[in-house]
């Protein structure tokens, strides 16, 4: 309920006749009776235009009927009356009763408005100049809903928005623009004012809308979903509005509260990517989706993760070897029994007496079981090794970077836990390839358990299904290995098993931790080495099994994990395009 305008103002005002304009700024019109009491009065407290609905609030005394006129014709309107004790108190003795009113004019046409007020059979029309354009410019954010349905023009809703802090705001929703009239989209917030977001309004598929609304709105298409990026840091719990301008068909407003951004960044990224409704229906435009909308906000959120490195604990099993040639870093995440299988092979390889073996537990949830297993395998084999642990999940890149800080040997071997050697002597064979100063990194032949090729070097791969992305291809994957044992140069190597000089690793800054969870950081590192003119070699002499996790099948995007891979792919592609790392397509 609006506050009553100043009673002084009311008391001093005495208008008995003549036409006057009703506006929200004007004082009340009041007519006194002969005995001095107020007989008739009317006042407009506020006017609001929202989604082609005009809402008038005010009070009237003495009038038993109020009608809305437009261009001298009555227009349909809903008039609600309610008590206004403040009015009753200000005008004692008047027949105030239910003085308050709220008048709602749906589908309000443009024109000259007035209120026709009738008392005891006598009518009088007050002009009510409404500047619709001016009203449009002033959204009432607290009056907005997250859903509108104007079956003449526009139906839609905001489903969810994500506050990515410095990464701005991502708004997911849908609209059905029944007459294809949408011209622009603006974003309003209390603190930031208006921003035109037409260019960052991105249509996404919504199969559910087609399925559920086709009968009511035959115009609905699959691409009725949208995601909007607002590139501005916003205060949590502020209100915001979206204005869809459909020209002559009017403006439509949706609004919501800005969520807090208290979630951990990775969870936030996961929530955002999980929210994309039907990614499999928009493979052709996913690069653009990341490039225009999602990529930068995710990068901003992820950069918060890079925050201070956790304090690591190092547990030494056995005594550290007097001399070491190679430090091996094996990150452990989730499944830890691979340690058992790897150690069954490592301990039987004499080279491991000169190896600095470091397991990095990148998963605080398995710390206890891993330490127990580590103690058990040390007891069984007596092969010394270290376990580095900390209370975080840093991802593949972060885990390796942290582990590498403890590496003491001149050569560094990055190894996945699901890589199992076939023969002893493989570490020395790999190291031999680095005798050549022009070689920056070397990897072995990796095979699936059945002997077919898992990795014989990687090459850039552009998929016609996902235009825009540069992926990593595995030439020869799944095939029979028919090559010789002679090392050969390759465009890229996997980090599932990759050896390089420890000094090089540190000087290129290790793995780029901006890739989330683990993808592309290996090819990124390869391209950093190539940027320095170093060669990458595949040495197929040493052969190891790689029981590659089968989670990265790009043919079937159904989960957030696949979209995360695509985010990483977008980021990788951008770094190549910006010249930050070498271009893998340029033959070395």
């Amino acid at each position: 309920m609006a506050f009553l305008k100043s009673s002084n103002q009311v008391a001093d005002t005495l208008i008995t006749s003549g036409s006057t304009d009703l506006t929200a700024d004007a004082p009340p019109f009041v007519q006194q009776s002969a005995r001095g009491g107020v007989q008739l009065g009317i006042c407009l407290d506020s006017t609001m235009l929202l989604n082609r609905v005009i809402t008038l609030e005010g009070w009237a005394i003495g009038y038993d009927r109020i009608e809305v006129m437009c261009n001298d014709k009555r227009v349909p309107a809903t008039v609600l009356r309610m008590p206004r004790p403040d009015v009753t108190e200000a005008y004692p003795g008047s027949a105030a009763g239910e003085a308050g009113f709220v008048i709602v004019i749906a589908n309000a046409p443009p024109g000259e408005y007035g209120l026709r007020c009738t008392a005891r059979g006598q009518s009088r029309t007050f002009a009510m100049p409404l500047d619709l354009d001016a009203l449009r410019g002033r959204p009432h954010l607290d009056k907005l809903f997250s859903r509108i349905e104007d079956d003449g023009s526009l139906v839609g809703a905001i489903d969810r928005s994500f506050n990515l802090g410095e990464g701005g705001l991502l708004i997911f929703g849908w609209i059905i623009d029944l007459h294809d009239a949408l011209q622009s989209v603006k974003f309003y917030s209390e603190a930031g004012g208006a921003i035109d977001v037409t260019d960052s309004f991105f249509r996404i598929p919504r199969l559910d809308l087609v399925a559920n609304l086709k009968n009511r709105y035959p115009q609905v298409t699959e691409m009725s979903g949208f995601v909007i990026r607002v590139d501005q840091q916003l205060a949590a719990e502020d209100l915001y509005g979206l204005c869809f301008d459909c020209g002559d068909r009017g403006q439509y407003w949706l609004g919501e509260e800005i969520a807090t951004s208290a979630l951990p960044p990775l969870q936030l990224v996961k929530d955002v990517l999980t929210y994309i409704p039907n990614p499999g229906r928009m493979r052709h435009s996913l690069f653009e989706l990341f490039d225009r909308i999602l990529g930068d906000p995710i990068s901003a959120a992820v950069s918060r993760m890079a925050a201070p490195k956790p304090a690591a604990l190092v547990k030494q099993f056995g005594s550290f070897p007097p001399e070491v040639d190679v430090s091996i870093i094996v990150p452990i995440y989730g499944r830890h029994d691979f340690i058992r299988y790897q150690m069954a092979r490592f301990h039987a390889d004499a080279e491991f007496t000169r190896i600095d073996l470091i397991y990095v537990i990148d998963d605080p949830d398995i710390l206890g079981p891993v330490m127990e297993l580590a103690a058990w395998v040390y007891e069984l084999y007596g092969l010394p090794f270290r376990v580095v642990s900390y209370n975080r999940n840093l991802g593949f890149a972060g885990a390796n970077n942290l582990g590498a800080e403890f590496a003491t040997a001149p050569l560094l071997l990055l190894l996945n836990s699901d890589v199992i050697p076939q023969q002893p002597g493989w570490v020395g064979s790999l190291a031999a390839s680095l005798d050549d100063a022009e070689v920056g990194a070397v990897g072995p032949l990796l095979q699936f358990y059945d002997g077919s090729v898992q990795h014989a070097g990687m090459a850039p791969n552009e998929s016609p299904v996902y235009p825009g992305f540069i992926f990593n291809g595995h030439p020869g994957k799944g095939g029979h290995w028919a090559g010789s044992d002679e090392p050969f140069e390759v465009p890229l190597l996997t980090a599932a098993c990759l050896m390089l000089r420890t000094a090089d690793y540190h000087s290129i800054g290790g793995f780029d931790e901006g890739y989330v969870i683990g993808d592309f950081e290996d090819s990124d590192m390869c391209l950093k080495l190539r940027h320095r003119g170093l060669k990458l070699m595949l040495n197929p002499g040493p052969k190891l099994y790689h029981l590659e996790r089968q989670s990265q099948n790009l043919q079937e995007i159904s989960s957030y994990r696949h979209l995360l891979t695509l985010y990483n792919g977008w980021r990788y592609t951008k770094k190549i395009m910006n010249g930050e790392i070498a271009n893998p397509k340029e033959v070395a």
Binding site: A344, E379, L380, D418, D450, Y545
Partner: protein
């Protein structure tokens, strides 16, 4: 020579064929002057003391803990140089460490034994196919079909909840320990061939038949005038793998004339431990047999090994029905010792030990009609029983078996 024999169970508590064979070897070696054997049998933790996986039953017999399941075969006790396991082994100070099995014990024990006693020879006896097959080591698929060759893909088809990669890891892991074994012992060429196909070097697998207690060959059962050689008996565990139901089906469905002549005695235990469906099937067949010819089939339940000679003296044939390959079934050796021909399926270790005319007769594995035909041919006089008895091979005594092992050890 000092020999430490590990067994996956003690026959005092588990009367399996492999446990008995391991214990017999222990006894037989101790009976040879100048040789000493120790017997170390795995036991479940409820049979052990608090705070140690080792429990000495006597100066020569120990229990050892561990719960290595069939899928992982991984030991659950401490095996380091200061462990109770290591102290026990070092106190025995063996020249030979003989694992008569590795299930329950865990394959890592092979490495620990090698590490604690670097000069000792490591011997492993292969029984069924547990290193190869997770389905109780039977090499029978979970859908019931016979398996001819295991692979991670095929094993995954049997156990869809276990990935191919995990089956690969199991194989790689077991092989990493088998690589530390000096010599394997297989009681049959069939079993050896399966392990060779799986990847063990043939030259590392010696063939030694299971030894059994010495005994005399019995004369053929006294045959009253007008009777024929139609008394059959089954000895052994009663479960699906052993195929007692196949034997029952064959006898129940014999022609009426034959039913009046034959008898079948079932000596076996653990029917009560089988699932309801199998128990119902066996009971159903026994009831049906009684309806068709009262007394034709008699179910006796469990028997003691010492009774075997008496029981065998009353019958003409030993019959087997196993659905799986078998390795070298003890019952065949027992039958040979007693001079009784064996009728068994024509696969695996059974077909190796018994061939038509040499040791008995075969029928098509898993086919009760085929067995029925063999029985009918006997009742109709088409089989020369005396000639078969003449051709029954000899058996290996425990003492001979111990001698073969001592030769292998040195």
């Amino acid at each position: 020579m000092r020999v430490a024999i590990f067994s996956h169970g003690h026959p005092k508590f588990n009367k399996g064929g492999a446990e008995i064979a391991a214990y017999s070897l222990f006894e037989a070696i101790n009976a040879v002057p100048g040789h000493d054997a120790w017997f170390i049998a795995r036991a479940s933790s409820n049979m052990l003391h608090l705070g140690t996986p080792v429990a000495a039953l006597s100066a020569r017999e120990y229990l050892i803990g561990g719960d290595a399941d069939v899928l992982h075969l991984s030991s659950t006790i401490e095996l380091g140089p200061k462990s109770d396991f290591a102290r026990m082994l070092r106190s025995i100070d063996p020249d030979v460490i003989h694992f008569h099995h590795y299930v329950n014990l865990g394959v890592e024990m092979i490495h620990a034994a090698r590490r604690m006693c670097p000069r000792a020879k490591i011997v492993v006896t292969l029984h069924e196919f547990i290193g190869i097959c997770s389905n109780h080591g039977q090499m029978v698929k979970t859908n019931g079909e016979l398996c001819y060759r295991a692979s991670p893909r095929e094993c995954h088809n049997c156990f869809p909840h276990v990935t191919m990669e995990n089956f690969f890891l199991r194989e790689d892991y077991v092989k990493s320990f088998f690589a530390k074994v000096d010599v394997f012992v297989s009681p049959s060429t069939f079993l050896k061939a399966r392990y060779v196909a799986w990847g063990l070097p043939a030259e590392k697998i010696a063939l030694i038949e299971n030894g059994i207690e010495e005994g005399k060959r019995l004369p053929p059962r006294f045959l009253p005038e007008g009777q024929n050689r139609s008394r059959f008996a089954y000895f052994g565990q009663i479960n699906k793998f052993k195929g007692v139901d196949i034997i029952l089906e064959a006898f129940v469905n014999l022609p009426k004339k034959a039913r009046k002549q034959v008898s079948l005695d079932i000596y076996g235990s653990s029917l009560e431990n089988q699932d309801q469906e199998f128990r119902d099937k066996v009971h159903g067949l026994l009831n049906l047999a009684d309806k068709r010819a009262l007394g034709m089939i008699r179910y006796h339940g469990a028997y003691e090994r010492a009774e075997m000679e008496n029981l065998m003296s009353e019958i003409d044939w030993v019959v087997m029905g196993s659905r799986w390959w078998e390795n070298s079934p003890m019952v065949i050796q027992e039958a040979f010792k007693a001079g009784r021909p064996v009728i068994c399926p024509n696969i695996g270790g059974m077909a190796e030990k018994v061939q038509p005319g040499r040791g008995g007769l075969n029928f098509l594995a898993r086919d009760s009609v085929s067995l029925q035909n063999v029985v009918t041919s006997i009742t109709e006089g088409a089989v020369d029983y005396d000639a078969l008895v003449e051709q029954i091979p000899t058996y290996l005594s425990q003492a001979e078996c111990a001698q073969s092992h001592l030769q292998l050890y040195s």
